[in-house]
Every structure is written in C-alpha cells, then in structure tokens.
Symmetry: C2
Subunit: 295 residues, 2 copies
C-alpha cells in the first residue's frame, strides 16, 4: 500500500497483518488483527456513500462504496452482513480441534468471511485505486489463517524437488498444508479472482502430480469472487468460463474442490456434469475437510 | 488507449492497426501501418529525454525515455537502433515466399523488430502510465504479422473440441497457424513478458496435446523481454526462473521453442541442459521455421 503523508489507521492495520504472518497464520494474534482490519475497513467505508449497482447476474444484487474519487469493487448485497457481532460469534468458536456441528453452519461461515474479506478489499479500493496487490496479499493471509486453524498445521510455500543430475531444488508453491504421513496434502492457491488466469490453478496441480505422483496433493483453491464492474455504467457481470474449466479438469489435472466466498452461478452445475468438478461455497470446507484427507 | 481530448497521432496510428487486423495480418497495408506507428512513436519519444538506467543485468546496458510525468520501460541499448532506414531495408525483403539467405541474418532481423516493438511500447508508456493492455495488443498483432508473412497462412484464434455427450465447443486459443495436412501446426502465444505467468504457456500446450495428441501442435511462444524497472532507483533487472521452466518442460508439456526479441541471459543455457528447451532470439525463426514443420 502506498504511503501518503501519514498512514491511515487502515494502512496501519494492514501493516500489522503483514508483520504478524511472519509468525504464522494461527496465533490468537491473527484473530485480533483481523478484527482490527475489519473495524478500520468498516469505519473507512462508513465515510463513503453506499450505492446500488446494476446487476447483470441473475439472482444477485450488488452494491458498492463511492467516496467521490473512486468506487469500490462490487459487493454481493445478499451475502453482506457488515457487523462485528457475527464475526465475534464465529471467532469464539475457533478453538483448536473445535467441533462446529450444531454450533454454526456452512452458510453462516461463508457469509461472515465474505463480509470481512469484501469490506477490507473495498476499503483498499477506495484508499488507493488500481492496487491489486494489497487486496490479494490480505486475502491470501486471511484465508490461510482460517485454513490453518481448521486443519491444525501451518502451511509452507515451497517444496523440495528431486533432480537426478544436479542438486535438489526448491519449487515455490501456493500454500501447502501437510497433515502428515498417509494423509493427502492440501495444495491451496488463494486468489481474489481467476479471470483469464484460471488455467494456472490446474497447471500447478499438474506439476505437483508429475513430481510427486497423482493424488498425493489435493488441489483446493479458494477464491473470493468473479465479478467485474464497469465503473462508468455501474454494471456488474460475473466472468465465468465453465466450458474451459471442464477441459482443464479433463486434460490438465484434477482439482478436488474449488471454494468461493461469493460462489458464481455459472459454476454450480459443474459438480454434476462430466468431468465432475466440485465448486462450493468456502463455508462447506469447515465441515467436509476431514473426509477429504484419507488416502 | 484512453482518449484524452483529441487523440494524438500515436493514438490514431494505433487505432489504424486495430482496424486493419480485422482484415488479417499479412496485407501490404500492415507494413504501412507498422511504419506509421514506428514513425509516430519515434516522434513522440523525441519530445522526451533519453536517460541512462542502472543495469543489474551482466552484459546489458539500458536506457529509457522520461517526459517529466512518466518514465518508459527499459530499452536494451545494445539492441536498439531506432532508425526507419533499417526497417525499410527489411520490409523490402518481405515478399511472399522470399528467400532471406544471404540478404539479411537473424541478428539484424531481431534488432530491427526489437527497435520497432520497444519504441511503440515505450511511447505508449509515456502517453499513458499503467496501461498494460495497449502495448500487449500492439505486440501481439505486430509479431503475428511477421509470422503470417513468413509461413504464408493467416492465424486462427479458436479451435473445435470434440465432446462425447454434448455439442462440440470452440476453445479460444492463442494464435494457431495451420500449415496444412501432414505438417505440424504452430501454437504461438505472444506476450510482452511472462513473469509469474509463464506456466500458462506450458498449460495451454498441455491442453492441445491432450485434446489433439502429442506433437500435433508445436508450442513456439514469442516474448519481448523480461526486464523490470524500479522507477525510483532507476534500476533494471531481468526476472528469470530457469529452474521452474525446466520443471514445466519436464512435467507439463514440451515447448518446441521460446523466442525473445531481448533474449534474457539466464535462459541461454536451457538449450543444452536436460530437459532441452530451446530459447532463442526471434530472428532465428525466419531461417529455421521450415525445418520445424515436417511430421
């Protein structure tokens, strides 16, 4: 995030996140840092005007925040509950190995995590236009911290690759969560959207399959949304390429899941067509993760 | 390119290119349009200050243009001959099926095409900061027109994919040059740089190999350069990932060539290490293309 004269409280909260992730993603401190970022984002958005956008997506309504200089990304109004209370209720449940059954459900978790993530991203949009990197980095660490809490191990970002002729090298990867011997490992790219770069999700999975053998790593990307806003017309579309995704799933590699916070309509049917590709709201992960890992 | 009040002559020349490519990439008109764009770019750069950059790349010196508002991308001074005369000499040779042997050489062609491409991109950098799309689109059509001239067929941008259950669908692709029955077909992505997206080159090749069988399409991407300029420090680096490229070549698909106008030093050795990956200056294509196509 570019420094203006004095950093805003929002910028300070973001710097706090960057400093904390050096210690890992699962400490109690992370919860406090997310609370702090969420609060500062809501305060920042509160100074802007909430405006309705024209939705070109059937069944979804979108709003945005406008501070006269810039307009934020689109926010799915039906999912958006920008209240600290819901987040406080959720993080009270986030104890190690906690059983969530009966205490909350997938839909509620998706809603809370979406509300936090989109608030922070929208606030950064208003603070600084054209900055893709800051929202991307925030989102990556945000999701990784929930994943770390749920599976109980810290992620790594590189992996050793054997070489016959030369020294072994380390391959930089997306987040890898290694649950131990005789468990499948999670391979988790985390992005705010995929657009024309979705093929990279399958290509990285193909590389891991090639180096370590098929089915050793499960590809389970987590994405925020696929909306695109025309800021002049104030129109929102979802950019989805289900036919291309089917070809990637057939010919490049098999992804185990694709999780979204704001699940695009066009991907719902991929689960039931050939080749099966399970695209789901991220909240479901918290209830099904344990069933995915046995070899 | 964003319109300001009145479009500059450079913008008009670029709009001419976009209009002409609707008729294909090989007409005599394209030569005139490239001449026009080159001239307007040199005029535009002539109004700016030529400045030296600090090179962090062994054996290469870089300059840039600075118009007080913005600084252009880095230009490899050793390759840069921004004179219309060399271009006029080259385009005089560009007759259908022309034999270039003895009339010019790979190094001269690379130098002329680099000088044109980097002049246009640098001029667009000065006209409008943060615009990746316009230089990318220009470069794509610029390279495709020389390729079209050399191989004598027009490219396509999509390809029919068989489906057992449903209607056949068309897959959007990078440029495909189909030289006819019993010839390999060229699959040619054209990008100004790859950075962290290089894996997409191999993934698209893998998809074609999967759908149509290995070795039916030859992957031969063409790239401008891999430089990155720190505009505050005025320093230039080349971002290269040769170890990762070797893994892509081993585990995702085999690319036949990777051509560069400003060939990065770090990729020179890939040709002679395992797995072989021939990264070459683009000028060499004009002399070797015919030897690549037999089945």
């Amino acid at each position: 995030m570019a420094k203006k004269n004095a950093p805003t409280k929002l910028e300070q909260a973001y710097e706090g996140l960057k400093a904390e992730v050096k210690n890992g993603h699962s400490s109690a401190a992370m919860t406090q840092i997310i609370t702090n970022l969420y609060e500062e984002s809501l305060t920042y958005l509160g100074d802007a005007k909430r405006v309705d956008l024209k939705s070109k997506v059937a069944g979804k309504e979108y709003i945005a925040y406008d501070n006269d200089k810039r307009i934020s990304r689109a926010i799915n109004a039906g999912l958006y509950v920008p209240k600290l209370k819901q987040w406080e209720e959720l993080h009270a449940l986030l104890k190690p190995n906690a059983d969530l059954d009966g205490k909350t459900d997938a839909q509620s978790i998706t809603r809370v995590l979406y509300s936090i993530a989109i608030s922070v991203c929208a606030a950064i949009d208003l603070l600084k236009g054209n900055d893709q990197k800051t929202p991307g980095t925030f989102f990556e660490h945000f999701i990784a911290s929930f994943f770390t809490w749920r599976v109980g191990v810290q992620p790594t970002n590189s992996i050793q690759v054997l070489s016959v002729d030369e020294e072994n090298t380390f391959l930089p990867t997306d987040f890898i969560f290694d649950l131990g011997k005789n468990k499948k490992k999670f391979h988790m790219p985390i992005k705010t959207s995929t657009r024309e770069r979705a093929i990279m999700l399958w290509a990285h999975q193909r590389l891991l399959d090639g180096v370590f053998g098929t089915d050793r790593f499960m590809g389970t990307p987590v994405l925020l949304a696929e909306t695109k806003t025309d800021s002049k017309k104030r129109e929102v579309v979802e950019i989805c390429l289900p036919e291309q995704w089917r070809l990637y799933q057939l010919y490049i590699a098999k992804l185990k899941r694709i999780y979204y916070l704001d699940m695009p309509k066009a991907y719902e049917k991929l689960s039931t067509n050939f080749p099966p590709l399970a695209v789901k709201p991220f909240g479901e992960f918290f209830f099904e993760w344990n069933s995915l890992t046995p070899v």
